[in-house]
Point group: C2
Chain length 385, copies 2
């Protein structure tokens, strides 16, 4: 974080993170929150203020009896530094520039003719240049780039071990992206990146445990337990899409059957809608159209899909008991069709107090994936990379 410093006092990181996620907050409140003395907070905050990451807000008016000296809350200086985030998919690069509060300032995207690593890296370089040299002139105040890729990614080494969608094997993404862009690069799995973003800047703020479920072509899940992202000892975690909820359910491409994804994945929905509508070339959008116009059979497809997602979420709630769960469907807002079924399926299967777990269900603008990527580079700054 600081020039030439690789690690930084834990209190400094803790203060930075807390101000970042818990908005303007006084030193005394921070001390309580972080279980530190107020003196320690003062000391930890100083270098952050000196470096321009934090600022002191004007004193707030106090309430209550007695009164006392008003707090001068610490706040993030959002424009102290900017971060590029890029989500890499098989046919597109989506890029954003975010400020330190993870607010998107500029966005851009590029279609990819092929997902070949060389091509992607060239296009990535151009996309980053477009973003940084375009309006706003962020170049001078940007040092970091976060990349989000689906598949098996090692954030430590920046290596993409295997990405089925991109057909990548052992691509040294960080190294190559750093060479091309000149920025400090952080690489992370896309769902994990989105989970971190939601945990730091979204609805997961303050939650000690938290789950994010993504519904789209695949169905994924990012998990935060004990304040830390769960990674899985064998590299597998959050595979909510491949939990079996119906022993007699349809075959899944994973080799099992009755998986959530085999019932509620976009592909599964299209397949079922084609069957019951008799239109073999029907698309997902067509299915949505039909359902919205009251096609009973297609509505039933969405209902079953929603129920399956609810079942998967209930499994998460019953097993790890997160403080809250966010369900976010990518692409268009079509998922409002099965939202009530997700809730019903969840409620029916949640055990005891697990049913109290608040559920947020909302569409996910595609740009969010890129914002997630930017967030991991913010996290890298805070951790003092």
């Amino acid at each position: 974080m600081f020039p030439e410093a690789d690690a930084v006092a834990p209190a400094v990181t803790a203060v930075f993170t807390a101000v970042l996620t818990e908005g303007p907050i006084s030193r005394v409140a921070l001390a309580r929150r972080l279980d530190l003395s107020s003196g320690a907070v003062t000391k930890a905050a100083r270098p952050l203020i000196d470096l321009g990451y934090l600022e002191e807000l004007a004193a707030t008016e106090r309430t209550g009896p007695g009164a006392g000296r008003p707090a001068s809350p610490l706040a993030i200086r959002a424009d102290s530094e900017f971060f590029v985030g890029v989500k890499i998919t098989a046919d597109e690069l989506i890029g954003v520039v975010c400020d330190l509060r993870a607010q998107v300032r500029v966005s851009a995207h590029r279609r990819l003719p092929v997902a070949d690593a060389d091509q992607v890296l060239t296009q990535l370089g151009e996309l980053v240049d477009d973003l940084l040299d375009g309006p706003g002139d962020y170049r001078a105040r940007t040092r970091r780039l976060g990349l989000a890729v689906s598949g098996d990614v090692d954030p430590i080494t920046g290596l993409v071990r295997y990405s089925p969608f991109l057909r990548w094997h052992d691509v040294a993404l960080r190294e190559r992206a750093e060479k091309i862009t000149g920025l400090a690069v952080t690489v992370e799995n896309d769902v994990k990146a989105l989970t971190i973003a939601e945990h730091w800047f979204g609805e997961g703020v303050g939650a000690e445990s938290f789950a994010l479920v993504t519904v789209g072509a695949g169905i994924g899940c990012g998990l935060v337990v004990g304040g830390r992202l769960v990674s899985g000892a064998h590299g597998v975690a959050g595979e909510i899409g491949h939990i079996g909820i119906d022993v007699d359910g349809p075959d899944c491409h994973c080799g099992s059957r009755g998986c959530v994804e085999a019932i509620a994945g976009a592909g599964a929905i299209v397949r079922q809608a084609r069957l019951c509508s008799g239109r073999p070339s029907l698309t997902f959008e067509d299915a949505v159209e039909l359902a919205r116009h009251g096609d009973v059979a297609v509505c039933e497809v969405f209902a079953r899909a929603g129920d399956a997602i609810g079942a998967g979420i209930a499994a998460v709630a019953n097993l790890v008991g997160p403080a809250r769960i966010v369900v976010s469907g990518e692409g268009l807002a079509a998922y409002d069709l099965f939202e009530p079924h997700i809730r019903a399926g969840f409620q029916r299967r949640a055990f005891g107090a697990a049913a109290d777990c608040p559920l947020s269900i909302r569409p996910l603008p595609f740009e969010e994936w890129a914002r997630g990527a930017a967030t991991v580079s913010i996290k890298a700054l805070v951790a003092a990379g």
Copy 2:
């Protein structure tokens, strides 16, 4: 831990825990393991040796080229202190005295006519007296008692919030047990206690994440993620028994249907075996008998149950990816009947590398529950209670 000390340097706790779980180990190896300097280990170990908890073993012969000074590994002095553990069930108290290595030295049990809290506490006092004043004369070297209770328990306050089997509501178990026994009492949920025991002294040793699945009347699961026991934000976690794996499955007492427990719980197995054998008063043991003598229908009941357990375990592996999973059936060793089906059901549903997760399946002597209770009091000592 130390007289009049409530908290203790983290390094001391870390060294104590590592020696406890990772057997005799040299200071240098500890330093590597704990990411400390060797000097820090020397300092942290000294008070533990002075207090008699650790001892230095004779130097071991060294191998390899060059050689060097032989290590003098640190080892636990197992008989430096003893711990009572009692598992409280609705009709029985099972108690043990363990040494510091969690080896059972004495055990005893008492039938309970009623599970009324007053009665239980009286009986508990007598049981502890029997254990400590019987052969071995452990009284003088025993200061701690661990209690394991099923249901919703607060280990911080020692309060049993709600225990369905015992029909207890808000019983101040720690306070009352301390008054009766004169020992420092730790209260914990039974499955969690067993999970800690397995994580510290059993097959979970060294695992950063770990799951213990208990199969009996109910089907439960203790989860360790990031080295810490998962508790669930709303007090619910590890409810593997109420994951739904069959949308058309049998009704479960929890209100949902197709739960693992509704297919593989002891009650469910008896119910199904009665149906297909036509013997309305058949017991669990009878069902085992029939299956072992080749009754095809009853074998099928066990096969389905095993498959359901496998499905639950696969859900755990897919979601949190523990480094290993132990499945332990309580009571008699009848569960060998469906062991292969558990493995098959798991393998079929585990996604990708999750299938690599090693599975141990073995019967669970009932005394193990009490040993788990003793383990939480050992943990309390180490944490410096």
